[in-house]
């Protein structure tokens, strides 16, 4: 009987969605030629798709409802049993060979692929670092920043301007870009210290959008919508490199950058300041009451997150050699945010995986490129509904200390 109920509800869903999508999916008006195109095939697709998806949806929702009621009764078990992913990461015998393989593949990649592939990976790695940087601000400290792209743009434009107008070298501009990003992070973070949640999100969205509009309109400094071109690629001890070599060089640079970012983020996570960020995210009032300086801690999170964005902004500009305001829009902030959320807020491995998947999949599934943003949006919604903790959920560090060790020695 459940089957019939499912069939009925799926049928209703199919009819509803056919109705809903009719004017946009089926009808296509060409006002210039005064013709109407009736795409009946689309209607069929929608009907079938809605029918199937609605059944799946209903099943998933019921499973979700059962899951949450179960959670209330046997809480601790669910947390105790680590998932496959966690067990994989914890056991050195398992993850060392995997890690080794990944490293070897990563190092060899440029020699076995065309430049086009390498370029894709350069951009994917840039996104990884962006995700890790935002992970500090959003994932660790819980400060919902929807304008992250602003810092990326700051880094890119800093290099572009310093290089094309003052002839400064890439390597000098790299730290400058990062520091400029951090500085802007602090400046923008200062007025919004007291904001939380939704309001914080919207204000940061505003900042990001204002930045873009300023780039578009302030001709004198940013060259407006025309952008800045002929930006120098990174040099290697003055050796002249062609595009292919330069791209490969940038690829290795990005690998180093990713490792560096992971290293630093990891250290920060398990530190006094990392814990302060997490406590601030969990309960700001209690955190401050326990002696944590809210302003300094939050500004540190903004600055650090912005630093990475500024850094890879420089690299981005050097790779594309031409930047314009269109690259620095809200979409990018949304994409990076979805990487952090989908990866699991605060989880380094999760963010790396999410970033790679979200960026490489569209590249390798070229046929579906048009659907990229559509899928992004859908995935964001679905993750929130069915796996809000992200790919890799929160595992807290267990500490060893002398008393525990002594107790174990005494007992064992």
């Amino acid at each position: 009987m459940a089957m019939i109920s499912y069939l009925k509800s799926s049928l209703i869903a199919a009819v509803w969605f056919v109705f809903l999508t009719f004017p946009l999916m089926v009808v296509k008006v060409n006002t210039l030629k005064s013709t109407v195109e009736w795409r009946w095939m689309n209607m069929l697709w929608v009907a079938i798709g809605a029918f199937i998806l609605s059944a799946v949806w209903r099943w998933a929702m019921e499973r979700r409802a059962r899951g949450s009621s179960q959670k209330e009764s046997d809480d601790t078990d669910a947390d105790k049993k680590p998932s496959i992913g966690h067990r994989l990461m914890a056991d050195p015998k398992l993850y060392r060979p995997v890690l080794g393989l990944v490293i070897v593949l990563a190092l060899l990649m440029p020699w076995v692929s065309e430049m086009y592939q390498v370029t894709i990976w350069v951009f994917a790695l840039i996104y990884v670092v962006l995700g890790l940087g935002l992970n500090i601000t959003v994932g660790l400290a819980g400060l919902l920043d929807l304008g992250y792209v602003a810092f990326f743009g700051v880094g890119a434009y800093t290099y572009a301007i310093l290089n094309t107008r003052f002839g400064l070298d890439f390597w000098i501009c790299l730290p400058i870009g990062g520091l400029t990003g951090a500085l802007v992070g602090v400046l923008l973070g200062f007025p919004i210290l007291r904001l939380r949640g939704d309001y914080l999100a919207i204000v940061t969205l505003g900042f990001g959008s204002i930045a873009k509009i300023v780039y578009e309109n302030w001709e004198g400094v940013f060259n407006g919508a025309k952008g800045i071109e002929k930006i120098a690629r990174p040099g290697f001890f003055g050796v002249e490199m062609d595009i292919s070599a330069a791209t490969t060089f940038t690829y290795y640079l990005m690998l180093v950058m990713v490792v560096f970012t992971i290293f630093v983020t990891n250290r920060l996570k398990d530190s006094r300041i990392g814990r302060a960020w997490m406590a601030l995210r969990e309960d700001e009032i209690a955190c401050v009451a326990m002696g944590v300086d809210m302003a300094k801690t939050k500004l540190g999170a903004y600055a650090l997150g912005a630093f990475w964005a500024g850094l890879v902004g420089v690299i981005f500009a050097s790779q594309t050699t031409y930047i314009n305001p269109a690259s620095f829009d809200f979409m990018l902030s949304a994409i990076v945010l979805s990487m952090v959320v989908l990866g699991g807020m605060g989880s380094i491995v999760g963010v790396v995986i999410a970033a790679l998947v979200l960026n490489l999949l569209p590249e390798y599934l070229r046929a579906f490129e048009d659907y990229r943003m559509l899928v992004f949006g859908a995935v964001m919604v679905l993750m929130m509904l069915f796996r809000p903790q992200g790919l890799v959920s929160n595992v807290r560090k267990t500490y060893t200390h002398s008393k525990k060790v002594h107790a174990e020695e005494a007992n064992g």
Binding site: I202, N217, D370, V379, M384
Partner: protein
Amino acid sequence: MEYFLELFLSGLTRGSIYALIALGYTMVYGIIQLINFAHGEIYMIGAFVALVVSGVLTIYGFSGVSILILAALIAIIYSAAYGYTLEKIAYRPLRNAPRLSALISAIGMSLFLQNYVLLAQTADYMPFPELVPEFAFMEPIAHIMGSAELVILITSAITMIGLTLLIKYTRIGKAMRATQQDMVMARLTGINVDRVISVTFIIGSVLAAIAGVLVGSYIGQINYFIGFMAGVKAFTAAVLGGIGNIPGAALGGLVLGLAEAMAAGYISSAYEDVFAFGVLVLILILRPSGLLGKAVKQKV
């Protein structure tokens, strides 16, 4: 003086549009504390549906006011349907989840809807037919205010008055107010909270659709991205007036519209959008409760 009047009326016109969309934001936020990121897309969809309908009708030989009425009606129905579905799929299951989850879901739906329209229709700007006829009696003041502007002002005014009456005097309006004040109590007094929330979304969507039709007709073209900008500005208006406060949204919309028009007219039109964002940022930092809102102190 004439220039000022022209700007003033233009600002009022924009402001009315912002107000119509802002009402949707403010009602939803007031009742479930969610920024409906996808609300701008509902407005955009309303405009698109109107465009499609009017296109079909024109080709099949209809003309004049009948197109306007049918297009608007159908756009309203569809926006309402989208709004209802949106709430049911992406927000209702997350009602008890942390606020961040719902916000992300909203952002996701916004992206999804934008790209859905992009793929289903086109990325190009679509020309929108001029549905509002030119009135002869407007001729003498045509250089200050056009027929379209008049229609926008009158329609908005009527709509907002209608909404106020609905909220104040009908049963469902009372239920909405009760649910906004205290959802648990409302449920305990027998109010079907789910239905009230659905109705809230539907009403907001209807207003957005009206705005979409008016704007499309006024500007003459639309594309899949107009929801984003309009959404942010309308949200700014809602916050300006005090989020959750219905007259506030109307006031905020008008104030923002006027300020924008004046700034564009007397200072520079390039930085128009910056202006709106700037207002938004300043309000949230300096006076988050807005012009008409009350500051809510968190209980420790």
